[in-house]
């Protein structure tokens, strides 16, 4: 009987010690999660624009950390939350690098595309006065070029609006589409495609 009381007491003591150890990790875990959450939030705005997939993955990882906390797995929550804060910093770095890359692309395209579109417009204006189109250019193809040019000019306007609104990724995407249309028009018209537009 006495032995049993001792066993129960030991078991209780072990339980209390374990509970105390666990509870002592709760506070640090809360702090670590808060820090990780703040780090993720700090990189969110730029990451959502430039590296959305990576942000999604990081938010998933943050949710997993919170799950661990809810399951009272505080040690794991602390370790993962601390790692997450570092990853959030890296994500912000990646977003900034992508922004820089897109800005450079935009600068190149915004300098080059107006020259291409202007050259195509000039050729179309002259060919529109021609009594007979040059060899290898049918009336049907010429009509396609004219409508493609109009679409490219409209899209270029949208690209500039996107850039002014701060949507660089959207602006570059639209500009690349304009470049594709301009290259196609130049090839149809027998004009040289500039080296910068071939990449």
């Amino acid at each position: 009987m006495k032995r049993n009381i001792v066993k129960v007491a030991i078991a209780l003591l072990v339980g209390i010690v374990m509970l105390a150890a666990c509870s002592s990790d709760k506070g640090p875990a809360e702090l670590a999660i808060k820090a990780a959450e703040e780090a993720v939030n700090a990189s969110k705005a730029e990451a959502a624009k430039y590296v959305p997939e990576e942000l999604k993955s990081l938010e998933g990882a943050l949710a997993a950390v919170k799950d661990n906390f809810a399951k009272k797995e505080y040690k794991a929550a602390i370790a993962d939350a601390q790692a997450l804060a570092g990853k959030a910093k890296d994500l912000l770095g990646a977003a900034n690098a992508k922004k820089e890359e897109l800005t450079k692309s935009w600068t190149d395209l915004s300098e080059g595309l107006p020259k291409m579109v202007g050259a195509i417009q000039s050729r179309v204006d002259i060919l529109s006065k021609s009594k007979k189109l040059p060899a290898n250019l049918t009336a049907e193809k010429f009509t396609e070029v004219k409508s493609g040019l109009a679409a490219a000019q409209e899209e270029w306007g949208k690209a500039m609006e996107s850039f002014k609104a701060g949507n660089i990724a959207e602006a570059v995407s639209a500009a690349n589409s304009v470049k594709g249309k301009a290259v196609s028009a130049m090839e149809t018209l027998g004009m040289p495609v500039p080296a910068g537009a071939k990449s």
Binding site: K115, I126, K131, P134
Partner: protein, 69 residues
């Protein structure tokens, strides 16, 4: 007739979309306009685009690089 695809006097700009034609024996502005525009009577466009090197539309020299607008 020889065309020089975008490699004209100012060929260092990667987005330079200017088309050039290098004059060869037998070329006239009329013939060049016929080749690029399908209509020789549009030669004035080429003449006007090259006023810095052409003074007379009837006088072009072999080797000259003409802008084709």
């Amino acid at each position: 007739m020889a065309d020089d695809q975008g490699k004209g006097p100012g060929g260092s700009d990667p987005y330079d979309a200017t088309q050039y034609h290098e004059v060869v024996k037998g070329d006239t502005l009329w013939k060049i306009a016929e080749r690029y525009y399908g209509d020789g009577s549009l030669y004035t466009n080429i003449f006007e685009a090259n006023q810095d090197i052409l003074k007379d539309p009837n006088k072009i020299k072999i080797g000259q690089k003409l802008r084709i607008p």
